[in-house]
Amino acid sequence: MATATRAAAPQTPDIAPVESRASEAFGRGAIDTTVRLTTPERIIFEYPLAGPFRRAYAYILDQLFIWAVMAVVSIAMAILAVGGFSSLGPILVAYFVMSWGYQAFCEAMFNGRTLGKRAAGLRVLSDNGVAINASQAVVRNVVGAADGLLPFFYLPGLTSMFLTSRFQRLGDLAAGTIVVVEENRSRAGVTRIVDKPVLDLLPWLPMRIAAGSDLSRALSDYVLARSKFGPARREEMAEHLAGPLRARFNLPPRASADAVLCAVYHRVFLGE
């Protein structure tokens, strides 16, 4: 899922600095398959990159589609030519057009997506984060022929993707493009918690709490996941955030960490 922030945007005094510190602290310096792109409008997007394995899935789907179209074309031509050899020429022309034109056409027309990429949730973007244009679509697919099956059995493409930090094959390098994942993460609905310790804490909290995206996500993730863990593990996990929240809202120190997070979640997402 892409996340976007505006670079050097004026920060609102309360929430923004807290959020930025929290985001930086999460997984600093560790390896991940994501890329940060700054568009010409200075908007920063963070996308998961598609490496060779995710792209292989989309590639296989596209090849299946091409072969399915070719099967239909071949049958139609064979019927029209009444089984004669005159159908061979149009079939070869159709194969040439499909194998060289299908991906470039789709990527140019459908904003960096072929059918296979759409099914796999991938999209081709310029390496500065904007949508690709028609010439980029053509270049990445024409030069990309060198990455393919012949003559070196995908080795140039694999080697190039292995060596470049953005998993770019030769066609991507020539056209200045990358392939990213566009996940539409399904969000679970709001959960209502009716445990007594949580309800007891609610009067201590203000009716509405303005939480930034980091705090909201942390609370939401915890509440949705807490049923998987035992009480001791819940306390251990929740205490990291419950301590500062107790101090911020003057909550009773004996309130369990789990109840504190659930109560704050209730106020953030349900108000009342």
Partner: protein, 258 residues
């Protein structure tokens, strides 16, 4: 749980784990390459020696690779386990951890796996229910008898998925071996001759050292993927991602209170 992990702690899909493995090899090629070579070299030499016998048939290679892969990738798994939490292990420490796990590896990965292979279909049990046996034996230590129980607990509820992942790893591995072998042969042919033509495939492809190199490369890579699969499963079961998020936000909230 300490900070400063090798990879960002979050739940990932299987294809993401494969891509992550590639990114990790790119970032740490020397340490991972040496660990893989140290584990693989003795078995590659053993296979070459065995292949010299007159009654040798190429089918034995498949059996050998199946039995040898948990042993050959043991040093790599130990090194990855250390790297994951910022621990730099010396060669002596890696050797000691592998030696310490030898009885468990022998009983589970050789005897039990061998028995299950005789029956045939039960071999799938290992892939579904004991997917992370190597990681448990090598990285978690603990009592010898506890390993299988722990491994089963890790795979509970996702056994079918892990079986599918095992099959997918084999599929990707095979595809890589074929592409690497044919592509490298063609490339070498193009560099050493004047024409870019395909050389005919030998009657015994296993006589070509390139194919052995490709197989061991695939086995080592898939061991890295399996390790990340193990970490991913622990992230899911033990709530590491949620805990790290709570800790990061808690720290930020603490800072804003000052």
């Amino acid at each position: 749980m300490r900070g400063g992990t090798l990879v960002v702690i979050r739940e990932r899909t299987f294809l993401e784990l494969l891509d992550l493995s590639l990114a990790t090899v790119r970032r740490r090629p020397v340490a991972l390459g040496l660990a893989a070579a140290a584990g693989i070299a003795p078995f590659a030499a053993l296979n070459a020696w065995l292949a010299g016998f007159s009654d040798w048939t190429d089918g034995w290679y498949l059996l050998l690779w199946l039995f040898e892969s948990p042993w050959a990738t043991a040093p790599l798994t130990v090194v990855l386990g250390g790297m994951m939490f910022g621990e730099r292990l010396s060669a002596r420490q890696v050797t000691w951890r592998v030696v310490r796990s030898t009885p468990g590896l022998f009983v589970y990965q050789t005897l039990l796996r061998g028995l299950s292979m005789i029956v045939g279909i039960t071999y799938l049990f290992f892939s579904a229910r004991q997917a992370f046996l190597n990681e448990v034996l090598l990285l978690e230590g603990g009592s010898f008898g506890r390993a299988m129980k722990r491994s089963t607990a890790l795979c509970a509820q996702r056994g079918g998925e892990f079986l599918g992942q095992w099959l997918a790893r084999i599929g990707f591995g095979l595809a890589f071996v074929v592409c690497f072998w044919l592509g490298t042969r063609t490339l070498l042919g193009a560099l050493t001759t004047n024409t870019l033509t395909w050389r005919p495939v030998d009657e015994t492809p296993f006589a070509d050292p390139l194919i052995h190199f490709a197989v061991w490369l695939a086995i080592a890579f898939m061991a890295i993927t399996r390790f990340f699969g193990y970490i991913d499963q622990r992230i899911r079961l033990e709530g590491w991602e949620v805990e790290l998020r709570l800790r990061a936000v808690g720290r930020a909230q603490q800072g804003s209170l000052r």
